[in-house]
């Protein structure tokens, strides 16, 4: 049986994008499946990225556009892998293409619909610090820049569901504003979920991470001004909902005192996760620096256990953050609570041996990185294993870190373990080279793979 020289990449973050581009550049067909309406992943949410402070719009979006335009890449966004069977060289894959209710052959991404849609829902891309419409693209540089309708929140879909259920009472409004205004006539209410069946020879799993929800740490208050790192990225982002002007969520005031808490959930086997999330030391240092650049009289404190800055140029970056006036307090935070207009952060400074209480306007938690939501189900479908925290297990942690426990299925990015952007990109390329090697060998026999 011949190897199907076509690859499936699951996950459209920076690792999946890199893997897809490298395989496609090698001359093979790639299907890139992404569950949200756009590729880009978490990296697209960041304000500026360490250690060089370039913006993702400058360094990521060209790669996203390359994916969208590459002749060898079939991009399936708003889609999820549902079923996988077969083996290395010949997997049968069923992909669920969720109904977008928009004909993407007609949609031009002009923006009329999402500007006029009356429904407002917390934006996933903006991590809840801003709203989006029920018909939307996640962000301005989305690839594809074509709208989808969120069927859970669309008013007309709610109306249709209400009519179908035959329930009594007041009918929801019919709305259909997007349909009336769309200059391309792209709204397509009849569109249903669709199953796409594909045959591929290799699979790259690059499903990334999600942050541990703040609710997992009840001692860190349930308060609008206690936010996680991704939310602060959106607030700091020059292209974000506040146009880079720092506002705190509760009252829109510009915070003067910001406290950062690293290892919020990480390195805490008692009630968090035992692993180090690897990126928090660096991104909190970066956020402290960016905040001080934006608010010149701002005060920043960072609570830490250790500063772990092992990447190229990282320690130098940390030293710069410290030199620019961010105060580092070595110790854990025991409680965060609101006291009037202020947020109080109680902790310990283990270097002076004293308990400290820092008053803040805004608190940013460097929450632990966890495998992305749904990755356990995906592992079950793929027949590959995960570790205790749910990260996909590599075949050998040191000498075979790219291959999963199933031949022909490779791992890339934070889905395998917490990772920063350089490592995710490197692993994406690494997984791609594994796929390219497999395809080059080409022929499959009962004894294994042989060169054709």
């Amino acid at each position: 049986m011949r190897v199907v020289k076509k690859a499936l990449v699951i996950g459209g973050g920076v690792a999946g994008i890199q893997a897809a581009l490298d395989i496609a550049d090698g001359g093979y067909q790639v299907i890139l499946v992404e569950k949200t309406p756009s590729i880009g992943g978490h990296m697209a949410q960041y304000a500026e990225v360490f250690p060089t402070l370039d913006c993702p719009q400058c360094i990521l979006t060209p790669k996203m556009v390359d994916v969208g335009q590459h002749p060898n890449i079939t991009l399936l966004t708003y889609a999820e892998v549902q079923k996988v069977s077969g083996e290395v060289g010949n997997f049968q894959v069923e992909i669920l293409q969720k109904a977008r209710k928009v004909d993407h052959t007609k949609c031009t991404g002009c923006g009329t619909c999402w500007q006029k849609c009356p429904e407002k829902i917390p934006s996933e891309y903006d991590a809840g610090v801003a709203d989006r419409a029920a018909i939307y693209i996640p962000f301005a540089q989305a690839v594809p820049a074509k709208a989808v309708i969120d069927t859970e929140h669309c008013r007309y879909i709610k109306y249709l569901d209400f009519m179908e259920s035959g329930a009594e009472g007041k009918k929801p409004p019919q709305c259909r504003i997007c349909e009336r205004l769309c200059p391309a006539g792209a709204i397509y209410w009849e569109q249903e979920d669709e199953i796409i069946t594909e045959q591929v020879g290799a699979i790259v799993v690059a499903t990334g991470f999600d942050l541990m929800p703040v609710e997992r740490l009840p001692e860190y208050a349930d308060d609008p001004d206690v936010i996680d790192g991704i939310q602060f990225e959106r607030i700091l982002c020059p292209g974000g909902p506040t146009a880079g002007v720092v506002h705190r969520p509760s009252d829109g005031k510009t915070p003067k005192e910001v406290v950062f808490v690293s290892c919020a959930g990480s390195r805490d086997p008692e009630h968090g996760v035992p692993h180090c999330s690897r990126v928090c030391c660096m991104y909190l240092a970066k956020q402290a620096m960016l905040f001080k650049h934006a608010v010149h009289d701002g005060q920043t404190h960072i609570f830490y256990i250790d500063t772990r800055t092992t990447g190229k140029g990282y320690e130098e970056f940390l030293q710069r953050t410290m030199a620019e006036g961010t105060v580092y307090l070595r110790g854990k935070v025991s409680r965060i609570y609101r006291d009037g207009d202020k947020i109080k952060v109680m902790g310990v400074d283990t270097l002076s041996g004293k308990q400290v209480e820092v008053s803040a306007d805004l608190v940013v938690l460097g929450m632990a990185m966890l495998p992305s939501i749904g990755s356990q189900e995906l592992a079950d479908r793929l027949g590959i294993t995960t570790n205790e925290q749910g990260f996909f297990t590599e075949n050998h942690i040191k000498i075979d870190p790219l291959e999963s426990t199933c031949p022909g299925i490779y791992l890339a990015g934070a889905a395998q373990g917490p990772k920063d952007i350089p490592d995710s990109v490197a692993q994406g390329s690494g997984a791609a080279s594994k796929v390219l090697g497999l395809f080059a060998r080409s022929e499959k026999t009962p004894e294994g793979l042989t060169v054709s």
Binding site: L217, P218, E219, A221, E270, Y337, R338, D339, K344
Partner: protein, 295 residues
């Protein structure tokens, strides 16, 4: 339902208001608290020293008394007693070597190997009686009373003996809501009151008391609800000093959860002994019409 009850020293002296109200309220709820015969000191503070086994003999002996009584469960009111008894029980369950040493030291008693479960009265209310049953028994809801729950340290620490979530316990709030009171959010609910530092460093306790009492006042609480005689002592006895030192503090009534429970289920206010409570609880309840005006 009969339950073995371990009182501890304070409940028979300074915290009579805690004990009397608890026994009366539990009787209304159908729970008969049967005082343990020949109980002795709980040990007061659990010794953390690895080789200080003699310290654990007092609490273990109490647990032996429970077993001798033919019971497999003992309930406490005082948080400190709960903590020392529960931790001594855990020690006896978890370390065979220490268990054998302690057992062999006590000649007259039967061996103890963890046959008794130590529970706090709040657990009995939540898990045995249940909020719904308590709600049905409430005759005089504490409407309009705004309280903040104060757990102190020993009810939820360390993790192995916690009666509720270590970081964010809710059992006192839940009880107060069932009784018809308003339970306000209280960020310092599990902060330390200064504990036995009252002996060696009373000034430190003034600072702790101000932090907790001041926060309760800023939150708009009418009273602090608590479950520990030592917390009551530190937060109560130091109020005059706190008010002298910090002019923004004007006083804060302290009340045991059992007193409010008793009042709400129809126990006579005289039994609740509000006269022994700190911070003017009696005047507060009278002003709110929750106990009758003095004639």
């Amino acid at each position: 339902m009969d339950l073995s009850y371990y009182p501890g020293c304070t409940l028979k002296t300074k915290a009579l208001n805690f004990e009397d109200s608890a026994i009366a309220a539990m009787a209304v709820l159908g729970v008969n608290l049967v005082e343990l015969p020949r109980w002795n000191c709980c040990g007061t503070v659990y010794s953390m020293a690895d080789d200080d086994l003699a310290h654990h003999i007092a609490p273990v002996r109490n647990l032996v008394r429970v077993a001798e009584q033919g019971s497999d469960r003992v309930v406490t009111l005082c948080s400190f007693c709960y903590n020392t008894l529960k931790r001594a029980d855990l020690l006896m369950r978890n370390s065979q070597e220490k268990r054998d040493t302690i057992n062999s030291f006590m000649d007259d008693e039967i061996d103890y190997d963890g046959q008794v479960e130590v529970v706090h009265l709040l657990e009995v209310l939540r898990d045995d009686v249940g909020w719904e049953a308590i709600g049905r028994t409430v005759k005089a809801p504490l409407e309009g009373l705004k309280v903040v729950p104060y757990y102190g340290c020993t009810l939820t620490r360390p993790q192995g003996v916690a009666i509720d979530s270590v970081e964010n316990p809710t059992v006192l709030q839940d009880l107060m809501k069932v009784l018809g009171a308003t339970a306000l959010d209280f960020p310092l609910a599990t902060e330390c009151c200064g504990s036995f530092e009252i002996v060696s460093d009373p000034d430190a306790v003034v600072e702790r008391a101000y932090a907790i009492l001041g926060m309760a006042q800023r939150k708009g609480a009418d009273a602090i609800v608590l479950s520990c005689p030592l917390c009551a002592h530190n937060l109560g006895q130091k109020q005059a000093e706190v008010a002298d030192k910090y002019s923004d503090f004007t006083g804060m009534p302290l009340v045991y959860f059992t007193q409010l429970l008793a009042l709400a289920v129809g126990v006579s206010p005289e039994v609740c002994r509000f006269d022994l409570s700190f911070g003017g609880v009696e005047a507060l309840l009278r002003e709110r019409g929750l106990i009758p005006q003095r004639v």
